[in-house]
Amino acid sequence: MLLINCPWCGPRDDAEFHYGGEAHILRPANPSALSDEEFAEYLFLQQNPRGLHLERWCHSDGCRRWFNMVRDTATNRILEVYPMGELPSSQSGLAAWRNNWRRNSAAERNARNRVE
């Protein structure tokens, strides 16, 4: 029974939340430009580490707002919660983001094209 600190509502039981899987997966700006293999990475591959996991949660029974969280899947220890669109502030969390293979995936490069 996790105690999740909603950035808005404060600590609540995990029963109030909806788990949204890996955080920071950008939707390709031009999906048609991706091969089936590259698109499959975006569609099906999720980080599944035994250790720090950057994940999305939604306080579905509360303020219905999505946010990000860094949690150690080996201990369920929660390092931090932070808003959508931002990166972790903890060094270890940031490292986990940087070391994610996805940062160099075709899908993410495709998505960044929109940003740039």
């Binding site: 105690l3 039981d13 949204g20 698109f39 219905r64 369920n76």
Partner: protein, 1000 residues
């Protein structure tokens, strides 16, 4: 016959003025208020209370509390009966009825005891090596094995009691109200922190309740206790919960505690309350369990833990025997000997495995005139239904063998102590690691990530003074950590015996070299002996988990509280490895067995899951509707008239909708209010078709896909104003779709100016359809021009119907002219009744979800979740027309282009017309190209919808068939269990294919 009484002249916390009558195995007994069933049975000299699980050996009470392995009884009768209750935890109440278990026909004469003679044939794991032949016979063997297995009996019917749950929050949760726990609670409470002190016994005090040789602040512990408890109860933010077992320590300071209430508050109250606690800090003052010594025939009734013997005397004024010997490896058991002497019970001998015994307690024993056999051991016992004598011998220096002559000592009880095992269960459950402590010979709490601090016995501290000090310090610190000011208070002064170091003799030799240790019981309840542990080792089941699972040690209802460490240690001996090397099994919730009903709580029966009803529901009920569960909703299914079959009712409803006017309660459809400058752009991204140029007041059908291209939901969305849309979803998809849209907005497109609000229940919806629906509506609605020109198909108008403000949508799920009238929920019933009244002369007929299905199927309209199952694309459904070719992107576009989704042999939606026009193909039936005499057969599709169509006067079906679009006109077969149906593949539209009617 008058049984002898073991009740002592004085002592105990029982009320000698209040006798309590109870019944055990059909015989009436009398105990005292304050007794447990165990103490009352002992007082009545009942030594035999149970049979063991496997060998059916006679067993007596071993312990004082939850750790009791033997004395399990069936409590109560009828639906209120409860199996496997520990006699040591049952508070005696007047009229209590209990019975022994796992014996037949009688406890004293149990046929199953034959197993104990066969025991050489039934070692650990023997099942795995037998009953294999002839093949297929296992089920027959098993039938008999199952009958002799199991302990008590389940009640025959529903539970007469009920159970409550309550959430609680505190700064400090103290588990255990022994000296350490009390001190911790006091220190934390004094500071004003919110404290919960929970203990599974009927009164706080823990071990202090059973000590008559400890003085605190100059008073006997038991007299000092009430003042402290009074202090605690005076603290406004401190809650003391007795009869409350803390059963689980979960993540992030979440704990579950089971409070037994019926025991003392009568059955008007719930039987139990399950507390669900969030604690900032947890203090574990769970104490320790004494463990027996493992020696030959150590399971006879009358052989008890030394602390239990002491407890029965001091707490209940009951002695387990008249001549009670003591067998130990530590000083603590000497206290039991001294208590016995003080109460005039004969103690023939103290047998101490330690060769050189010294220290104040030993001296006190000698001073009391007791014989101490140092460096000796009990090598055998006699007595079947109760202990008659013990045999002792001198131990060799290394304790591995025996020397000297055998001496037999007559006694009717034996107090045994092999040391203490800290109750680290909760600490381990919560993810804490354990470390072996050689001195006390047990695992102690090591590291944890949680805010959990073990104190006292749980941390290996056995002295009362030490417990008080640790609790005091920890409680104060915990309160501070929670932001409270610690308030100084003096530590009480404690006077108690100091104890010298214990020794650990894990296996007591029986002095018969070569003979197996077949009656050295390690786990009493599951009849696991030292010999079984040796066998497991020989066969390679050496990992601690393999040992547990192969021998079943520690898998009984006591979860090995008294046996685990002994089993590990013996395995260590066999393997020649140290105990940390052997390791320990993980502790799992619950700490003690907990009523399943308590976890179910009140969310059963009427409160199991909400039933959602619409505003028109009272009318549906009043008019005899049959209902259908759709998710949580109850929807009117059809409205049978007296004597009408479902088929007749549905045919009538469908025909009315096609020929006159029908009325459907469509309130359950999901509805989402969408506002913002980018609303149209947003719809353009989540629907497959294009939305930018939809005119205000006009509506459009939309299909939503997942990113994988599979159909997820559908519905009609209307543009109310430039930046304002009203979206409808399927009934089942209402919640999912809103969440899905919010997710995209918040996580992917925060730049879009779009706001979503669910209005599903704000609007009640009555859908009129049929050729006369316009005529009917005109009678109730005068402020809207209803003509086809002024109010065309797929548009929306606002006005009033029967004086009720309404939004009217000209959309159709039936293929007929249709008006979906939306009014605020409060007016739903009034609107419905007005429509029914005005419609009667026009032949109006309310219809339910079944007729709705038939109507849409005749038109070939899909239902998401029936024609689709998460593996179906718009192209599979033949809905290419709704997938924009021009849009560069929408959710699911790329998914649709994947290799396998373009394959020509995908399942495609087609119609099926059974060759026999009376034969309605069952939904879910499988389609094959060629029928074979018997399965297996290659399936090419399945029937998704199938009805009798009164409009077409024949059965119609929709099916998903591999390459179906290319098979139009072909005949396929549907092999059913009892017959084969032939059917012709057709277009999935059976009526008004051009759709003129609904535009009219």
């Amino acid at each position: 016959m008058r049984r002898r009484s073991n009740r002592l002249e004085k002592g105990g916390r029982v009320d000698r003025t209040r006798p309590v009558r109870f019944r055990f195995d059909g015989r009436d007994f009398e105990g005292l208020s304050g007794d447990t069933l165990a103490s009352a049975l002992l007082a009545n000299d009942v030594s035999l209370v149970a049979r063991s699980f496997k060998y059916h050996r006679p067993r007596g009470i071993v312990a004082l509390g939850v750790e009791e392995p033997n004395a399990l009884v069936q409590c109560g009768i009828g639906n209120g009966t409860t199996p496997n209750q520990r006699a040591t935890r049952i508070e005696l109440t007047d009229g209590l009825i209990a019975a022994s278990q796992n014996r037949w026909p009688l406890l004293r004469a149990d046929i199953g005891a034959i197993n104990s003679l066969l025991s050489p044939l039934l070692p650990a794991g023997f099942y795995y090596k037998t009953f294999m032949w002839p093949p297929g016979w296992w089920l027959r063997y098993e039938h008999w094995i199952r009958r002799v297995a199991g302990l008590g009996r389940a009640p025959p019917g529903p539970d007469p009691d009920h159970y409550r749950q309550v959430h609680a929050h505190c700064d400090v949760l103290v588990v255990g109200a022994g000296p350490a726990g009390l001190a911790a609670a006091a220190a934390a409470g004094r500071s004003g922190a919110r404290v919960i002190l929970a203990d599974e016994q009927s009164e706080p005090g823990g071990s202090l309740l059973a000590e008559d040789d400890v003085e605190i602040d100059g008073r006997p512990a038991a007299d000092w206790l009430p003042t402290l408890i009074a202090d605690l109860q005076a603290m406004p933010e401190l809650t003391v919960l007795t009869r409350t077992a803390v059963n689980g320590l979960h993540d992030h300071g979440f704990l579950t505690m089971l409070q037994n209430r019926a025991a003392h508050e009568g059955t008007a109250r719930p039987r139990c309350t399950l507390w669900k606690v969030r604690a900032r800090h947890v203090v574990l003052a769970t104490g320790a369990h004494e463990r027996p010594l493992v020696f030959a025939d150590n399971d006879r009734p009358g052989i008890m833990l030394a602390s239990a013997v002491r407890g029965y005397i001091t707490r209940y004024g009951v002695t387990p025997g008249r001549r009670v010997a003591v067998f130990c490896s530590n000083d603590d058991a000497y206290r039991t000997a001294l208590v016995l002497v003080r109460h005039g019970v004969e103690v023939p001998a103290i047998i101490d495995v330690r060769a050189n015994t010294a220290g104040p307690l030993v001296d006190a024993a000698r001073a009391a005139g007791l014989t101490v056999h140092a460096g000796h051991a009990v090598v055998g016992t006699s007595g079947w239904h109760r202990l008659r004598s013990i045999t002792i011998r001198q131990l060799s220096g290394d304790g591995q063998t025996c020397t000297g002559r055998r001496r037999t000592i007559r006694c009717d009880a034996l107090a045994v102590s092999g040391g203490w095992t800290p109750a680290v269960h909760l600490f381990s459950q919560g993810g804490g690691s354990l470390a072996w402590d050689e001195a006390i010979g047990a695992f102690l709490p090591d590291a944890t990530l949680q805010q959990v601090t073990p104190v006292g016995g749980c941390a290996g501290t056995m002295s009362v003074a030490g417990c008080l000090a640790e609790g005091h310090a920890t409680g104060g610190a915990a309160a501070c950590a929670a932001g409270h000011e610690e308030i100084e208070a003096p530590l009480p002064r404690v006077l108690e015996h100091s104890q010298s170091l214990p020794d650990h003799l894990w296996t007591v030799p029986h002095g018969r070299p070569g003979r197996p240790l077949a009656t050295h019981f390690v786990d009493f309840q599951n009849d696991v002996t030292a010999a079984d542990v040796h066998l497991a080792a020989r066969e390679g089941y050496t990992s601690v988990e393999h040992l547990k699972r192969y021998t079943t040690t520690g898998m009984g209802t006591d979860q090995g509280k008294t046996s685990n460490v002994n089993a590990l240690a013996i395995m260590g001996e066999v393997l020649g490895s140290d105990i940390p090397g052997v390791g320990h099994t993980t502790f799992r919730p619950p700490y003690t067995p907990a009523a399943i009903g308590a976890y179910a709580g009140r969310t059963i029966g009427a409160l199991f899951d909400p039933v959602r009803i619409t505003a028109m529901d009272p009318w549906h009920r009043a008019h005899g509707a049959a209902f259908e569960h759709v998710g949580q909703w109850m929807r009117a299914w059809y409205y049978p008239r007296p004597g009408e079959s479902m088929r007749q009712a549905v045919d009538r409803e469908v025909t009315a909708a096609r020929e006159a006017v029908g009325l459907l309660d469509a309130s359950t459809l999901g509805k989402i209010d969408i506002q913002g400058a980018d609303a149209a752009e947003f719809l353009n991204r989540v629907y497959t078709n294009s939305w930018l140029r939809l005119q205000p007041g006009r509506a459009r059908y939309g299909l939503m896909l997942g990113e994988d291209g599979m159909v997820m939901d559908d519905g009609v969305t209307t543009r109310l104003a430039e930046n304002h849309f009203h979206m409808t979803t399927t009934t089942g998809g209402a919640g999912t779709v809103l969440d899905w849209l919010e997710e995209w907005l918040q996580t992917e497109w925060p730049d879009l100016d779009v706001r979503l609000t669910s209005v599903t229940e704000h609007w009640a919806v009555a859908a009129l359809c049929g050729p006369r629906s316009r005529e009917l509506l005109a009678r109730l609605c005068t402020d809207i021009d209803l003509s086809a020109e002024a109010f065309p198909f797929m548009s929306m108008r606002e006005g009033t119907v029967a004086g009720i403000p309404a939004r009217i949508f000209r959309i159709s799920f039936s293929g007929e002219i249709s008006f979906e009238i939306n009014v605020r929920r409060r007016h739903g019933l009034a609107l419905w009744e007005a429509l029914v009244a005005a419609g009667e002369p026009l032949g109006l007929c309310p219809y339910g979800t079944e007729a709705m299905h038939v109507l849409r199927a005749e038109k070939g309209f899909i239902i998401v979740g029936q024609e689709t199952d998460g593996t179906v694309t718009p192209f599979d459904l033949g809905m290419d027309w709704i997938v924009s070719k021009t849009k560069t992107d929408f959710i699911g576009k790329r998914g649709l282009d994947r290799r396998d989704l373009l394959a020509p042999d995908r399942k495609q939606l087609v119609g099926l017309l059974s060759e026999d026009p009376r034969d309605v193909i069952p939904e879910g039936a499988q389609v094959v190209e060629t029928v074979r005499s018997r399965p297996p057969m290659t399936m090419i599709g399945h029937v998704t919808s199938s009805y009798h169509s009164p409009t077409c006067g024949r059965p119609i079906a929709l099916a998903l068939v591999k390459g179906g679009r290319s098979m139009l006109g072909n005949t396929v077969s549907i092999p059913l269990a009892n017959r084969v149906v032939g059917a012709v593949v057709s277009e999935p539209r059976f009526f008004d294919p051009e759709g003129e009617r609904m535009h009219g």
